[in-house]
Amino acid sequence: MDVGENGGPVVELRSLSKSFTEKKTGRELEVLDHLDMEVRQGRFTCVVGPTGCGKTTLLRLIGGLEVPSSGEVRFEGRPVTGPGPQRGMVFQEYALFPWRTAVRNVTFGLSLKGIPHKEARALADEYLETVGLTGHEDLYPRELSGGMKQRVAIARTLAALPRILLMDEPFASLDAQTRNGMQEFLVDLWRRTGTSIVFVTHLVDEAVFMGQEIVGLSRRPARVVRTFENNLPYPRSRTGAEFTELRARILEYLAVEMSE
């Protein structure tokens, strides 16, 4: 697949605002403030921003798990009204069903669609193969390492045939080695499947290693500070001069924005 190929916008956020009422104080907390953003078909988009700026909220709005206070979220041209299997979510905490084995986590979405047990199982086995987990199908989540859990979560989401993958700091609780491995794995997977991906992180390194587009958010209330294009060819090196240069540029830019 040609990584450079891009379609039209798959997700459009139009003047999107979201605020929460704090339970204790009753204060209004503005998290997103008239945010505009587009995600293009088939691209790997990374969203970076400081802790607590509203990255998770943004992703949940796209996923349909939150309702906007004002503005609009559109997916493939139609307004989002709730969660659905077209928009697959991968959570930081894996969110695997602990009482189901790896393969039965993957079949969860399949059997909801009414796919018969045997067929679902065969499909699930395929997806587990895709994420390199053949041989571990019958282990329970607690028997899997962090990286393996993350792969099962991805396989489970892929099996629902989403047209976009929304990932919320999925690698945050992995140790550095495993995390690097998962980044490489995800890039590889994306290049093979061609799904659109929105990947939220607070690590600029991670964004630069994976993303074609890197959307920098401001402190809360979040606005899009700037979108960086990253045309480095895949597979990327973490130590190359261009990598280091882009990383430093983004860090600096964000730092200036932050210190305002």
Binding site: L65, R87, G88, F91, F97, W99, R100
Partner: protein, 249 residues
Amino acid sequence: MRKWKYISPLVALGLWQLLAMVGVLGRTPSPVDVAEGFYDLIVTGLPPGYYLQWHLLASLERVLVGFAFALVLAVPLGILMGWSRGFDTVMDPLVEVVRPVPPLAWLPLAVIWFGIGIFSAAFMIFLGAFFPILLNTITGVKSVDPHLVEAARTLGARRRAILLRVLTPGAMPSIITGVRIGIGIGWMTLVAAEMTGVKSGYGLGYLILTARDIARYDIVVAGMVVIGVVGFLMDRLVKYAEKRLLGWM
């Protein structure tokens, strides 16, 4: 360490016998008296012809019926209450006021409603077992990681699937704890339950009450020992089942 496991009941028994022999226990039966009571229960029966094993079986039957009703009603109700905030708000005060009423206080009504025999006994046991199962189910459902529900929703699950395939299995550990407590408290309601009258003349609680009426304290204590040991064994059984059922934990 394992071999020390049975030391405390043994030491307790020895001490008890010693105190009885020294005479400080007065009319409390000694372990030897209780052993004799056991012998009588097994050989002669109380009332004569009514043997221990049948008393035990009759009680187990009552407890199981009462417990089964508690299980079948408390789990679905608990899942609904744990899931729907509105339903919980509405039902909670009722539950909280009925809960502290002692099963024994229901005795007069139990007899009016269910007559004598297994159903009124089972009703009292039901009252004992119902609330722990209900409360644990509610807690269990509330403690299911909300991310799991959200994950299920993004995978296309709707209400029915969320209830049956996410909340129910997710609450299972807590439900099983509730079952353990519930069956324990149901069993502890036994004596009260059998005060509703037994048709068959069998029952451990009935046995204890009869023995008390005729001042056979050795048999009273023997009956208590049986209740204690069986209660202990039931708890172990549920614990064992729990281990098998919750292999994933």
